[in-house]
Symmetry: C2
Subunit: 214 residues, 2 copies
């Protein structure tokens, strides 16, 4: 039976990976899988897989394993992929445009409604049939158009200001690409994508072996 305890972030961050591997199994017409076999593909221990899944329900069957389609659907539901989110992007520079054009986006239920920028050269251009609006219109836009998700792709200097406007208008989830930590109330979720941190980690690991042994 599903546990009622708080799920740890470690577990949550593994869920998308389960979802991805299950999708792959589906495309290969594999309709059942054991934790052991999934373990060999995904690289987690079978025990961890079973324990992770058991946080949410008894999806498997002893002696059989897991039904791939059912489990895929269940995890999709757990991840909220059956929901739809009205989404905006603020910042139409390189990253903003890449995110806007990111096709997987809509499949996950994130529906891009508007894009904002303050650069006059970008205001007016169309990205995926959406005309970039001046960021001065952000406040009035949000006042008139209830929005679920805000994506921040502006330079770090403006990130907090943009976040404040989003929060003011009831946005409950922020996907933050600005290389800074933004402050929001407890009921607002911020998911950061800090590219430079990722790159620094790569840099560290490249040098790791020779750090002490020379």
């Amino acid at each position: 039976m599903a546990k009622e305890t708080k799920i740890s972030m470690a577990v949550i961050r593994r869920l998308p990976k389960y979802h991805r591997y299950l999708a792959e199994l589906l495309t290969n017409d594999i309709d059942r899988i054991s934790s052991k076999e999934l373990s060999e593909r995904i690289g987690f221990t079978a025990s961890q897989i079973r324990q992770d899944l058991n946080c949410f329900g008894d999806f498997g069957q002893q002696g059989y394993g897991y039904n791939v389609r059912d489990l895929y659907n269940e995890i999709g539901k757990i991840l909220g992929l059956d929901k739809n989110y009205k989404t905006i992007i603020v910042g139409a520079g390189n990253i903003g445009q890449a995110v806007a054009n990111y096709s997987k986006f809509e499949k996950l239920g994130f529906h891009l409604q508007a894009i904002f920028d303050k650069n006059p050269k970008l205001v007016g251009i169309r990205i995926r049939d959406i005309e970039v609006k001046d960021v001065d219109c952000l406040n009035s836009y949000l006042a008139q158009n209830p929005t679920d998700i805000g994506i921040i792709c502006v330079p770090k200097e403006h990130a907090q200001m943009v976040a404040d406007i989003m929060v003011k208008h009831g946005i409950k989830g922020i996907w933050n690409f600005a290389p800074t930590d933004i402050k929001v109330p407890d009921d607002v979720i911020v998911e950061n994508v800090h590219l430079s941190e990722s790159l620094m980690t790569l840099s560290y690991r490249l040098n790791e072996s020779n750090l002490f042994n020379e």
Copy 2:
């Protein structure tokens, strides 16, 4: 004194954040900081900060704290930011272009040498003064131009093939934006940026509160 034990990934992933906050202190002309004060800014406990830093050396002084510039430089060195890496990007689509134009890139020592794509519409265009080459030239390019880092920005179907070519030519670090796990030998470091996983995590957390309590 610095410990010789293996540093955990948890610690490593916090280092860039220390680096970022110290940079901010520097721009504000703050030249010393205690673990307690840094703790209040960065949101980790003071104890954790001291313990993290002590993995690498005794950078602080009792009764004084840490010298901001020294610590910033030390962490930079630990992260390998004083090194230079010859870098290529394979895949000049939205993400590839965004990464290529990502300015912080060069500052961290990653020098973009070449960009490849297989789309004839992209081959030949210039991104940051670098002409996009046909991906068919990747093999011969790498044979002639020793390269440290490969950035994979191709669709998932081609990611493993690109990675194999990179590995064959001695690339030791891969920054992977393709939404798949690539297999490489043990001595090659892969750092993944899985945007859809990040987005799914955001989606989960948005729904988390109502999962069980309704």
